[in-house]
């Protein structure tokens, strides 16, 4: 059995172990036999534990797997397409676009959004607004990708869109109420608890289908590594390919950000972690490995959030940089050498 296969198997085992740990451990201490009893359909010692295990921890762990994979694969595709090791799903302003949507919903419209006869409030309004905000940015970026040939220029346009989005958010925050700003700040800290069991099927279908399509693009991504000219000579329509990658990454980021808030560093750091472990640039191996590694990192970060004693939690985005930042620093040091 080759080294890569062993590593991939280890990662799969890691996902299973961390998934079990995420369901077993949380802010509330529940005996293991009760957790197993609840999962097996039995009656727990305390009725509220059933909700905690089945409706809080289980969907949170599933959301961490799907979101981690989605963001990591999105980051890998962008890093390859733009040949930029620091590209990640947030660089094109998709997260910022989602942020503007949420800021409009929470800060300007007081937490409810009305579209025609449809009126949404609470979490659904935030979800809807984030998705619409992110999709607007994707449409704008895709439009520019058809006009601009240079990848670097397109990256700069993406960063500029991010700045414009941030300025709108800053303006909305400035005039908002204390409660509005607090709600927005908490959303911006990211969390995997936004996907309830009721919403899980739609979330999972979008992420899994997009990930499957991404895995099918492994060969064209390998060709892109050779450079735009070689890729064109080998029959790849680079412009169309780039737009397709942007749309796919955009959808993955939009869905994850809408449900879980902007989650930093996973999209940037996990592809590098996978490359370091697997030691290959072959996307046929790297894409699935990155997806699994994304799930491992997201589950580990989610588990770290409940480490503080006394039933408290810490925000997800306070944990993800602890994993992401050392990886990025390592890459910078390695490239300098």
């Amino acid at each position: 059995m080759g080294r890569r296969t062993v590593l991939c198997l280890c990662m799969v085992v890691g996902v299973a172990a961390l998934f079990a740990a995420n369901v077993a451990f949380g802010a509330v201490s529940i005996p293991l036999h009760d957790v197993l009893g609840i999962l097996g359909g039995g009656d727990p010692s305390k009725e509220s534990w059933r909700f905690i295990v089945l409706e809080s921890r289980l969907p949170q762990a599933l959301a961490a797997i799907l979101s981690g994979s989605a963001l990591a694969v999105g980051g890998l595709m962008l890093q390859t397409a733009f040949r930029n090791p620091l590209a990640d799903p947030s660089v094109f302003g998709v997260s910022s676009g989602a942020g503007v949507g949420v800021a409009l919903a929470v800060l300007l419209f007081g937490g409810s959004v009305s579209v025609g006869s449809l009126s949404l409030s609470g979490f659904i309004a935030v979800l809807f607004a984030a998705f619409v905000g992110a999709m607007v940015v994707i449409v704008v970026i895709s439009f520019f990708s058809l006009m601009v040939r240079s990848s670097v220029m397109l990256l700069i346009i993406g960063i500029m869109i991010g700045y414009v989005s941030s300025s709108m958010t800053a303006l909305l925050n400035f005039f908002a109420t204390d409660e509005g700003v607090k709600s927005y700040v908490v959303w911006g800290m990211g969390n995997f608890s936004g996907v309830s069991m009721r919403l899980m099927p739609s979330f999972a279908i979008v992420v899994i289908v997009t990930l499957f399509v991404a895995l099918c693009m492994a060969k064209p991504l390998n060709i892109l590594l050779l450079g735009d000219r070689y890729a064109s000579n080998l029959g790849v329509n680079v412009g169309r390919m780039r737009t397709a990658l942007l749309v796919m990454t955009g959808i993955l980021t939009a869905v994850v950000t809408a449900f879980c808030g902007p989650i930093s560093f996973i999209g940037l750091a996990v592809p590098h972690l996978s490359r370091l472990l697997i030691s290959t640039d072959d996307h046929r191996v790297l894409l699935p490995a990155t997806a699994i590694m994304g799930a491992v990192v997201a589950l580990a970060c989610n588990l770290l959030c409940v480490i503080p004693a006394g039933g408290s939690i810490i925000p997800l985005n306070a944990v993800t940089p602890l994993v992401g930042a050392p990886v990025v620093i390592y890459i910078i040091l390695k490239s300098k050498r």
Binding site: V28, S48, I52, E55, K182, S183, M189
Partner: protein
């Protein structure tokens, strides 16, 4: 019912007498120190020709935030004045940077001194809104970053500001020479401690007697209500507030709300948490520790009253709370009530609401002021 009224009347009489005692001052060679009963962040010393008010730094024990030297108009050149911010009283033109202090000014009968206001979009006082529309009160913009030109234009005698920890000062406005009154009242540990600051504000506006009587009334009613609650036989347990995104900010046992729940003799699951602020908890912890509470009280902001369907739509987990299942949820719509404007200086109003809800055997006169029972539709 009659028993309760007897208790309240007796308590009012007793506390009013003790208040007079409490408002006595101790005369020493260094001045005549006004005895404050609850406020810990402020000290008032009267001297011949001026009053010295020391505001202590809430974040650094033992340090002073500001020293104010209150003198009558035209006496600022008095050579005997100690070092500090000299404020000529009574203030005739003031810009309160928060609606809380504007509301108190109205209660003290000096609303005419308001010449400017910050965060106008959140002000509910009809007088201020009308005067702003008529251009007689200036809208100075955001309280965090006010419009300096507008402030200078109305040339106020003082600005009432809320200090923040490590705020980095007040920027260019500090250069204008307009005195800043740092209203650190919100950092007081107890509700009555905060309310007692009205005696200082009364001195600023030349409404000392009005402020003293108002505080005496607040103090006596609060204590009367507290003693009624302590004797109540039927006590409901309570859980406070609700999720903000993924976090449930629960008032700590020593927070203002935590203290008031204790004064209302409530059975509160987080009463033993010694934190003065809020605890950031995940839903599962709240459900585990307080899910069986009889009553759920929460504050929200909305254009219409919240319903059980709205709450479930917001977060499905709310349905797991016993109070939700038993339809014992009370919401306070901060948009439609004057919760934030009134309660800082009228904690007795809020204590009354708590007792009405948490002790069904106690019958207090009047209706709920801030909280309303949530309905299905």
């Amino acid at each position: 019912m009659s028993n309760i009224w007897t208790i309240i009347s007796l308590s009012v009489a007793l506390v009013a007498t003790s208040c007079r005692d409490g408002m006595r001052s101790s005369v020493t060679a260094d001045g005549d120190t006004l005895q404050l009963k609850y406020a810990e962040l402020i000290e008032i010393v009267r001297h011949k020709g001026y009053s010295e008010v020391n505001v202590y730094d809430p974040w650094h024990k033992g340090k002073m935030l500001q020293r104010y030297v209150l003198v009558a108009h035209g006496h600022r050149e008095n050579e005997a004045l100690p070092h500090g911010t000299v404020v000529e009283v009574p203030l005739r033109k003031v810009i309160p940077m928060s609606t809380v202090h504007a509301e108190l000014m109205a209660d003290l009968g000096c609303r005419e001194a308001i010449v400017g206001i910050a965060d106008l979009q959140y002000v509910k006082m009809p007088y201020v809104v009308e005067q702003c529309k008529a251009g007689r009160i200036a809208d100075v913009g955001s309280s965090i970053s006010p419009n300096v030109e507008k402030i200078i234009d109305v040339s106020p005698d003082a600005l009432l500001v809320s200090p923040f920890e490590n705020s980095g000062g007040y920027g260019r406005i500090e250069e204008t020479g307009i005195p800043f009154i740092e209203c650190a009242d919100y950092m007081e540990a107890t509700p009555l401690g905060r309310a007692e600051w009205m005696r200082f504000y009364g001195m600023l506006f030349g409404k000392e007697k009005t402020a003293d009587s108002l505080f005496s009334a607040v103090d006596s009613i609060y204590h009367a209500l507290k003693s009624v609650a302590a004797k109540a036989a039927d006590r409901r347990s309570v859980v406070m507030d609700k999720n903000t995104g993924s976090v449930w900010y629960v008032p700590g046992g020593r927070s203002t709300i935590g203290t008031m729940l204790a004064d209302a003799a409530a059975d509160y699951a987080f009463a033993d948490e010694s934190k003065a602020g809020s605890l950031a908890l995940p839903f599962e912890t709240v459900l585990h520790k307080a899910g069986d509470s009889d009553v759920w009280l929460f504050r929200y902001s909305g254009s219409s009253p919240v319903t059980y369907a709205d709450l479930l739509n917001e977060y499905r987990g709310y349905g797991e709370l016993k109070a939700f299942r038993n339809r014992m949820c009370y919401g306070c719509n901060v948009e439609k009530t004057r919760f934030y404007e009134e309660t800082p200086f009228r904690p007795d109003y809020l204590l009354g609401d708590f007792i009405r809800i948490l002790h069904p055997d106690v019958s207090l006169p009047g209706d709920l002021r801030y909280f309303q029972l949530v309905y299905d539709e």
